[in-house]
Amino acid sequence: MNQLADTFRDRSAFAPSGPYRLLPARFSRLDDRRYVITNDVGEYVVLERPALQALLRHELQPGTPLYADLKSRHFLFDGESRVALDLLALKYRSRADRIADFTALHMFVVTLRCDHTCSYCQVSRQMEEKSRFDMSQAHADRAVEFVFRSPSPAIKIEFQGGEPLLNFDLIRHVVLRAESLNREHGRDLVFVIASNLTRLNDEILDFCKGHRIYFSTSLDGPADLHDERRALPRGSSYRAAVDGIQRIREALGPDAVAALMTTSPGSLPRVREIVDEYVKQGFHSIFLRSLSPYGFAVRTSLVRRYDVDDWVKFYVEGLRHIIDLNLSGYPMREEFAAILLQKMFAPVGNGYVDLQSPAGLGIAGIIYNYDGAIYASDEGRMLAEMGDHTFRLGHLDEDSFEEVMTSDTLVDLLKDSMLEGLPMCSDCAFMPYCGSDPVFHKATQGDVIGHKAFSSFCKKQMAVLRHLIALMEDDASARRVLQSWI
């Protein structure tokens, strides 16, 4: 019987014939002794190999705790399970539902100019005075029209650069234009300026009040670490960032600014100091990120100077320190772990753009470059700076929103980014918590799918997910902290 005919058999054909019937699942090794088994809706159970074999051979005894656990988490069903299939279908649908409300994040590169000369900058900087690297008002207006063509009920417009505050007039224009259009559309509209804060002034802060504008800045750790890589020809980039953070909090409120850190080889032995710097600056959240293989980072060979194993060591030590801070009374969240934990435990998963299947390309976030070109993601734009235009979806002067969103370029990229059909991923227990990173694999392997046995993205995902699951299983106090982040 072929698969289609199988699908349309009567439901009674799927009833358990023996004591129980298996439901679709994937398993992977957790460590030398244990396996983790997951299903399409993100439930998981950890079990030892003999138990896994017994489950698959239909030898588990009803009435045992493991049997009950596997049954309640939809890994098996028996004659007493009335709604297992319906429940699974419903849960699957809830997790997939966000795809229909596509493109919540719209990024505007309002200028490519920047006053910093950072060695790992992902954007190819241009000199400050070259105003031909600014986005035109006509392109900005057209991009705002695109924003309101996406069906997402929540819209975030993020201003990027270069240093976006070098073209604040255009930011002001876009905010006012978007707010005016939104009176008709009624979306939940917010703005974020991703800035190094050197150009922050009272005029900017005054405008931000009352327009739901938030800031995101870079803070790599203590002053010497931050300034080592973020070279500001006159002055200290660290000073500008921490002073700016204070001013924003005073003017716009304590939650109006978030900070992001980038890991460089110099960060690797200093993760505790980095976390402590975030505490010192009053943050309750940190995202321990790895270095991206784009832009100047690749040209300066930075990305090759440390291996994913070094980063995982850095991450594990940092997470331990953060958990200990929580246990000693300072609430602090590690954002990468929080995203993965939400994918494991929250009914609707997590919409983090970089960990989706299909990938978030175009459908979670889209980027309008300073010259009017449209890219499927920020990293896709960075790759274009290096001469690879795989992720260019069109141009604001030439294409309509519909043409961009239904273009072969985008549809083919999305098809190729569904983990459910990719070698290794399709059998991987971590798949429901993982995502596709076509830009990373194009940059590192020359192919959007990538061979996962050679992929440092895959290695990183597996290592972090194994670590988190082991903490949840083996360390009760860590589990309490991790659960509070969901």
């Binding site: 698969q3 199988d6 699908t7 058999r9 439901r11 799927f14 019937r21 298996l22 439901l23 679709p24 699942a25 994937r26 398993f27 992977s28 090794r29 399409d40 896994l52 074999q53 698959l56 299939l85 319906d86 699974l88 279908a89 419903l90 699957y92 649908r93 997939a96 229909a100 069906p151 070698p423 290794m424 059998d427 061979h451 046995a453 050679f454």
Partner: protein
Amino acid sequence: MTADDRFDTRIDVQTYRPAAIKKAAYRVAERCTVRLEPSDSDEPILRFTFPPRTSDTAAAEAVRVFYQELLDEELRAQLHEETDALRSLILAHAFSRTDLLQR
């Protein structure tokens, strides 16, 4: 074992299905290349080729990991056989009442 050495062994394709052998080979591709070669007997040859400068210990570990993966792949194949039609049913059910076309 030295630099670019090979290691040959025979494999029982009654016990291990070729699809499982191929998937296990894919998983260990960073450590070694595994090829399934025909032989005069019923049991084809499994040929492991290691990258230059692979130590004896690393080569032995690569072969061990391959067999470990192979056992897992066999179990996965059993699971797939039993549940693939159910997965199609659940997905069909999940999307049977969507309003995607009306959006």
